[in-house]
Symmetry: C3
């Protein structure tokens, strides 16, 4: 069994950003030389996500509005913010979007359907944060 | 390390369907001859899910109503639908239900609790779509 | 390839509890002697979750209130409860929080960011229930 790890660093300009990291994951997969296995990609921070969806700008705007409705910023309404943070909402938004994805590796490629793209979802940005790519297989 | 891939095809009669695919995953596991490892099952389309829950009709009706409340069809309220689609809601519903599940394989079986069953959740059906089963181990 | 399985048992005092199981997962990882690979942790029941977030009491109270808003107990409003159960809400809460997490194992450790902690989320407790740790690698 082979394994390969790679860390991606982010420091977004905005508090909330959705960034297509599919090229970085493809690059890591080539570097790993793994042909059959599993590829885990996860946020290493608890106010960020890694998820798979469509790379379509309108949809990303829909995600932003929808997440704000389900988990509003609303700084004074959360107990977590009594610690001095203002990011309770970001913990909730990340929960809806998910911490990690696992993708099959088949014949040296991410075994994807036609529209699948991998995103890093930042909900409390303007800080240095990381995502992890871990690939195991043969 | 061994690995095994299998694709399941769907073309549902209804736009929204929840289909128990546990028998298909068990079949793939037997075909793989893998005894210890991990089994990934994921939707290959971004308006569908694979998730684990109970095979109980009332609960499935509850899921439908609940998802419609959290992520309504509401065709005119999404920017994504300006592309000519009407399925923005299905991208959001799939986000709540999740893209993939990972199940332990122990002694040649899916290592499940008493009520766990695997479902393909279709939220924009009446099209040909796929799910992927990938098993790795020994 | 090596693999290691361990089952954690719970019987919570309250219907809803969030329990930090990171020490148990670290212990299982040491027992496995696996240095590079993947670690799956999942609830084996469909009204419970395993998720990663912050071990901060205020945030946990925020999660409780937020989940109650998104998926209220509301016993008479669910078809599933016609079966004699009162836990439909717990199936929905677990759906939001997720069934499983997958963590990279690197140099014999859970490859975690600074605040990541693993929780068992119980939404229909006061019953004996299990979570599963499965580690594969080398």
């Amino acid at each position: 069994m082979k394994s390969y790890s790679k860390y991606l660093w982010f420091n977004t300009s905005n508090k909330l950003e959705l960034i297509n990291i599919t090229p970085e994951v493809n690059k890591a997969l080539r570097e790993s030389r793994i042909k059959e296995g599993l590829c885990l990609v996860n946020a290493m921070h608890i106010t960020a996500s890694v998820f798979i969806n469509d790379d379509e700008e309108g949809l990303h705007e829909d995600f932003r509005l929808w997440l704000e409705k389900l988990a509003p910023y609303n700084v004074n309404s959360y107990k977590h913010n009594l610690t001095g943070e203002d990011n309770a909402h970001a913990h909730l938004k990340r929960t809806i979007m998910g911490r990690q994805i696992v993708v099959a590796v088949t014949k040296g490629k991410l075994d994807f359907g036609p529209w699948e793209q991998i995103f890093y979802g930042e909900f409390d940005g303007q800080r240095r944060k990381r995502a992890l790519i871990k690939i195991i297989g043969e």
